[in-house]
Structure formats: structure tokens, C-alpha cells
Amino acid sequence: MSLTVAVIPAFNEEKRVALAVQDALSACGAVVVVDDCSTDRTNQTAYAAGAYVLRHVINRGQGAALETASDFAVRNLGADIVVHFDADGQMTAADIPYMIEPILKDEADVVLGSRFMGKEVENMPASRRAVHVGARLFTLLMSGIRLTDTHNGFRALSKDSAKKLRISLDRMAHASEILDLIAARRLRVVERPVTIKYTEDTLEKSLKIQGGSIARTIRIVKDLIKKRLIG
């Protein structure tokens, strides 16, 4: 029996993280939450919901939190499959069995969730759609991987690929970095349709934290260029 562990980076998600943990536990053997120096009760809430909780004493961003969580899942819990999951309830754990299926069958090393493969996207704003079209083109040019959806946080990784994909970009550009690494390590990658819910609550949050799609995109591209120049 293989162990699937969901890893959830969380920064000030006390309202939503418990639901995400409980949801993920319904499909995974264990859940690891990395509390990225939250100032609210994210840590306690996630723990009470049944997750392993690790705390970053300084906020290091989503990429860094994911890496910490994967590290813990593989090395300390002996996970066979690591699933990247979201703290804010945008993803649904009902998709996890479909996500890990190709890895269990040894048909893929990495499975990426896609919002644009059949399943319906609920309430995605037009501005965000436009950004995604640009991101797909950018990824095709930079990594040479053709995907229907490039910046979906829903991923499933086999143990070995999780070890090979060491994320070094701390903030949001890790999504592109992961794609680069998949290409560089020649991992087998497939996409699976997933449902992503855009609720008013989460949209408002991402606006507050990141300053909207455009500003966020600029920041991601900046991080990536930096990485290419000096990395």
C-alpha cells in the first residue's frame, strides 16, 4: 500500500485551512501543513484538524514552504506520492485519486492538475484567463513543455521526482521553476483535469496579498529572469 501525503503551504489561512486539511485527509494518508510564519491561528487550526504542522519562523513564500513540506513528507513520513494542495479550499480532494493514478500505474513521474481539460472552471475572472494564455506561451518558450494549464498549484509527484525537484525559488515563480526542472530532469509528465473553485473570498485574498494578476505576473517573470541570470 503506497502512502500519499498532501502538502499544504499556508500563510494566514485560519479560516480555510481546517477544511482543506480535512478534505485532503479524506484522500491521503497524511497531511503536512507548513505554516509560513502566519500571524493568525493557522498553525493551531491546522494541527487541530489533524495535520502535521511545521512552522517557518520567517516568512519565506509559497515555493519555500512547499519544498519544506515535501522534504518532510518524503524523508520523515516515507511518502510514496506527494500531492501539492492549497490551503484556501480552491482545490477539491475528490480529484486526488485521479491525480495519483498515473503515478501508481507507473505511467508518469509528475501529474499536473489542469483547469482547462474538460472540467468547468467556476467563476474565473477574464483578466486571469488572459494571464493564463500568456503563461502557457511563456512556458512553451522557456521550458519547451506544452501544457493546457501552467500555473495550477495542484500537482502529484512520485517520491523520486519530489526528491529531484528541489524548489529554490521562494515566492510564486516556483510554478515555472518546477516546469523547468521537469524538463531538465526528463521526467514523465501528464495532465489531469481538476476543478478549481474561485470564490469571492479567495479572489479578494489574492488581490490583497499579491496586488492582482498583472502585478503578480510581473513579479513572477522578474524572479524567473533573475534565476536565469545568476542561478
Binding site: A51, V53, L54, R60, D71
Partner: protein, 117 residues
Amino acid sequence: MIFQFGIVIFALLVILRTYGQYKKELVSRYWLLAFSLLWVLIGVAAIIPHTTDDIAHFVGVERGADMLVYIAVLVLLYAVYRLFVRVQKMHEEITELVRQIALASPKVPVKKGERGE
């Protein structure tokens, strides 16, 4: 004239200060020599300005002062680049440190049965 005089005094002070730091073993001998040489050259350029013009002509720049500005810009750009790389490296080290601290003290969930629920 005052400008030239000021630069020479300043150059001397810098060299003296660097020598003092070298004596206290705060900077390396290499740094002392390189930095002193730089300020000696600056002093010479201030006292006999046409030396820089001669060098400038030699490398194909019209005026010595222009050449100095070009060099200064390049040196500063390089310094900024070095700092940038160093800051980036420091960020990665901080992340690694934070990660190790996090990994060292995980909160392990209590299984439902064990809690008596």
C-alpha cells in the same frame, strides 16, 4: 584649485585610514595595496589632470574626465551585480535555515483513536 586640493587630502586620508585598518588586521594586504593604488592614481589625476586626458586619448575617449565617469559607472554596475548575487545567496541560506528549524520541530497529529474520541 580647491577641488584638486580637496581630492588629494581626501585620498591621503583614505590611504591612511586603510593602512590603519590593515594594522588592526581588519583588511587584507591585497585590499590595502589595491585600494591605496586606486587612491594614489586618483590623487595623481587630480594634481596633473592632463595625464587622464593622455590615457583617454590613448583608449579613444575625448576627455579624461569623461573616461573616469565611464569607468566609475562600470565599476558601480559591477559592484551592484555582486551585491545582488550575494543578497540572493543570503536569501537562499535564510530559507535553508528556516527550513531546518521547521523540520527539527514538527507537530505530530494525535490519531483520533488515541485521543479517545
